[in-house]
């Protein structure tokens, strides 16, 4: 019976207290990011969005699959406005004087780099958050069709912080603060 076989862990059972992470704790020191008992870590950008500073989250467009289909002109032609723009809440956009279709400058507070994007003013996003679809290939001259459309190139927006280098494989790409201004 499969459930009678021991799991391949030191205890043979499902572990919620990870011995591996305990080993790292003893070497690298205590840190909530690698607590042996999974812990809630407050997001790096918690409660820091105000004024023209927003949380930047990103997602995928249903009509493209990463760079694999980003240059397909038929798929680009059926993409909606929201698939290649920066979603911004209607009330916050009115406060900042941003209208639907305006060009906006998005500056990452983490890296200091900026990009331009088209604003999509909608009620479908949180007031403290802007959303974008990562702009696959829009910076490459060889992608002749994708070059025309633009999301926010996420590679300019995030970086791996030094205290994460030791262990974490992920770059916390949803924990970014950006300043949004009219371009």
């Amino acid at each position: 019976m499969p459930y009678k076989k021991p799991l391949q862990t030191p205890t043979g059972k499902v572990e919620i207290y990870s011995m591996k992470l305990l080993g790292i704790t003893s070497k690298a020191g205590k840190n909530p990011n690698w607590d042996p008992l999974p812990d809630w870590v407050p997001p790096r950008v918690f409660n820091k969005a105000s004024g023209n500073v927003f949380y930047l989250t990103y997602g995928r467009s249903p009509v493209t699959s990463h760079t694999h289909t980003s240059d397909n002109d038929l798929l680009i032609s059926i993409a909606r406005k929201g698939h290649y723009s920066l979603w911004i809440n209607a009330k916050r956009a009115a406060e900042l004087g941003i209208k639907d279709g305006d060009l906006v400058k998005v500056t990452s507070l983490a890296t200091g780099k900026s990009a331009t994007a088209v604003a999509f003013v909608t009620e479908g996003v949180r007031p403290d958050t802007v959303f974008t679809v990562s702009g696959w290939g829009i910076e490459s001259d060889r992608l002749t069709n994708a070059k025309k459309v633009g999301g926010v190139p996420m590679n300019r927006m995030w970086k791996i912080f030094e205290d994460q280098y030791k262990l974490l494989p992920n770059a916390l790409m949803q924990e970014i603060l950006v300043r949004v201004e009219k371009a």
Binding site: P62, V63, D73, L74, L75, S77, I78, A79, R80, G82, N89, A90, K91, T122, E123, G124, V125, R126, P127
Partner: protein
């Protein structure tokens, strides 16, 4: 003899645009210039956090009393024996009178051929061979339902006759044969 009709279930349309792409490739429309037979506009209702996003697939309504056919000066626009509104490309002179007359914005000028183009329910290329229109066959959410309005066993008959699916602008008395199932939205 049939009376072909379509039901759009806006509750299950996810707005992926697969129907648009399938139509463009099946019927060789001028999609590169934005001239195509079907569109799926999106609408947002309500205020954050109670927001509903609705996709409304749009195409020719294949009206029982088509105003585009009435105004056509050459007789190129016609309704065939199966209730599908079509255009004879050999007779059409591209005068665009029908574009103005259509209350559902279903027609456009095909600039390569200089004639009016519109949705045909894929009549010649698929329906006559017993297949479903390209947009219906490719729909992932079963949001487009195609069938015969005179067949009491068909899904479109049941949805349209029970009142679940309704016509757009019935007050125009055009009797469209494309029906829509409403999605509840936040007020």
């Amino acid at each position: 003899m049939a009376k072909y009709a379509m039901v759009m279930d806006t509750r299950s349309c996810i707005g992926c645009g697969a129907c648009i792409a399938a139509c463009d490739l099946e019927n060789d429309t001028e999609w590169r210039d934005g001239r195509r037979r079907t569109h799926v506009p999106e609408f947002f209702f309500g205020e954050f956090p109670n927001v509903t996003r609705v996709f409304v697939p749009r195409l020719c309504m294949h009206c029982e009393n088509p105003p585009c056919v009435t105004v056509c000066p050459t007789g190129a626009s016609y309704k065939n024996e199966d209730g599908v509104v079509l255009v004879h490309h050999e007779i059409c002179i591209g005068c665009k009178y029908c574009i103005v007359a259509c209350p559902y914005l279903a027609r456009y000028l095909d600039e390569r051929k200089g004639v009016i183009d519109k949705c045909t329910f894929c009549y010649d290329n698929r329906v006559l061979q017993g297949r479903q229109p390209a947009c219906v066959e490719t729909c992932v959410g079963h949001a487009r339902i195609f069938g015969d309005l005179e067949d009491p066993n068909s899904e479109v008959y049941k949805l349209a006759k029970s009142g679940v699916a309704v016509q757009l602008r019935p007050d125009l008395l055009t009797e469209p044969k494309v029906f829509y199932i409403r999605r509840a939205v936040e007020e």
